[in-house]
Amino acid sequence: MTDQTLPPVLAEISEEFLALGEQDRLQLLLEFSRELPALPARLEEHPELLERVAECQSPVFIVAEVEDGAVHLHATAPEQAPTTRGFASILVQGLDGLTPEQVLETPNDVAHRLGLARAISPLRLAGMSGMLARIKRQVAARTS
């Protein structure tokens, strides 16, 4: 499965991580965590539209909307959970604006292509895979 290619933005993000040493990769993840956009007001007022990612120990919520053939992602996670925020931010930046097909074809092992396996516990990486799995299921449900 590892020969599956990542969509362009995720591929760039992955290269950016792999070009760094391990400590700097964590620093980059921290930068991503700061870039997670706030929820738009309409979702802020309707938190029930977001799905909780149960695989993450921190409360992280996501929603994947499909409009005019493009996927739009929104996510929220507490400031006190920067690792989770960082992963959410990578997925939002990497998948937003793609077609539903591109999102559904995104390899499931994105979390393992960032070179963080030693610095981050396996459970956290599983959390990121959980986020991606839920995004895909939402996209599939909204395009079928």
């Binding site: 921190s58 006190q80 690792t83 989770t84 956290r124 599983a126 959980g130």
Partner: protein, 300 residues
């Protein structure tokens, strides 16, 4: 050189070992004292970088306390190197704090104790209390002076239990500190969701379910001794002289309960089974009970 104990707090005075806790106010007064090292230990590997108590060093459970290959903790030589790097002397007072009501801080404290580091304390209320009270924080990382910490071999006999120890222990008090859903074995995950890390669900037969959070008050500090007695003595039936084993999923939440039973309530024989459910729930032919009752120990 150890630092004086925090005797400012009435709640602490009623605990079996009040010297194991400090208040946020005490810590703010003592930060920077000779002989005191403040350690932050979090579940989230990046949280320290977002901001921490000035002068605090970070100790990460996953990359620094666990052996990178084998499922075990680092050995005495690696612990000595870690302490030297963090600027910790063998006689220093170490105050640990962290996220999630000190789960990981308690875990780190327990690991420090495996190596016999004498004076190691928790910040009551943890990271959240410090931040909520608006006390000073920084993103600046200290550059501690390298110390020379002796190589002390880990002692796994007194406060750590392995699977075989637990099998022999059956019949004595066992405390499962996970959530009621994990304890009963009710599956909350659906197909296509990532695996939970154990092949079977449920609990060790005869274990009483006392979720770790029962020891914590609403503001995130430890409950007063009278409330803790209610939870663990009246509620879970523990009594003086008991030989107790606590477990959870990987041993971090049960370190928190180990701290409460050992240092706050004064039980002298408490072990943390760090293999916990991720080992027991995947082991072949060990007894498992499901449902909300402790269940019977199978006869040998």
């Amino acid at each position: 050189m150890p630092v004086e104990i925090d005797d400012s707090n009435e709640k602490f005075a009623a605990y079996a070992h009040p010297e194991r806790l400090v208040t946020t106010a005490w810590l703010e007064d003592h930060v920077g004292s000779d002989g005191l090292v403040v350690v932050e230990s979090d579940e989230d590997v990046l949280l320290y970088e977002v901001g921490h108590i000035p002068g605090a060093v970070k100790v990460d459970w996953h990359t620094e306390l666990n052996d990178p290959v084998q499922r075990d903790y680092i050995d005495g030589a690696a612990f000595a190197r870690l302490m030297a790097r963090k600027g910790i002397e063998r006689t220093d007072t170490v105050v640990i704090y962290g996220d999630k009501n000190n789960w990981w801080a308690a875990y780190a404290l327990w690991v420090f104790t495996l190596f016999g580091h004498e004076d190691v304390r928790l910040l009551d209320g943890g990271r959240d209390a410090w931040f909520a009270e608006g006390r000073p924080v920084t993103t600046e990382k200290p550059e501690p002076r390298r110390t020379s910490y002796p190589v002390v071999e880990r002692d796994d006999t007194a406060i750590r239990a392995f699977k075989d120890d637990v099998l022999v222990h059956l019949g004595n008090p066992l405390i499962d500190v996970r959530s009621p859903e994990e304890y009963s074995g009710e599956r909350t995950t659906a197909p296509a969701y990532p695996e939970e890390g154990a092949l079977r669900a449920g609990h060790i037969p005869s274990a009483r379910n006392v979720p770790w959070g029962m020891a914590v008050a609403e503001d995130g500090t430890f409950k007063p001794v009278v409330d803790l007695e209610g939870v663990y003595r009246e509620g879970a039936g523990l009594s003086d002289g008991d030989d107790i084993v606590a477990y959870c999923r990987i041993g971090e939440r049960s370190s928190h309960t180990w701290f409460v039973l050992t240092h706050l309530l004064g039980f002298e024989n408490v072990r943390n089974y760090d293999g916990s459910w991720t080992e027991w729930g995947s082991a072949v032919r060990v007894p498992i009970a499901t449902g909300d009752q402790p269940g019977d120990i199978p006869s040998a």
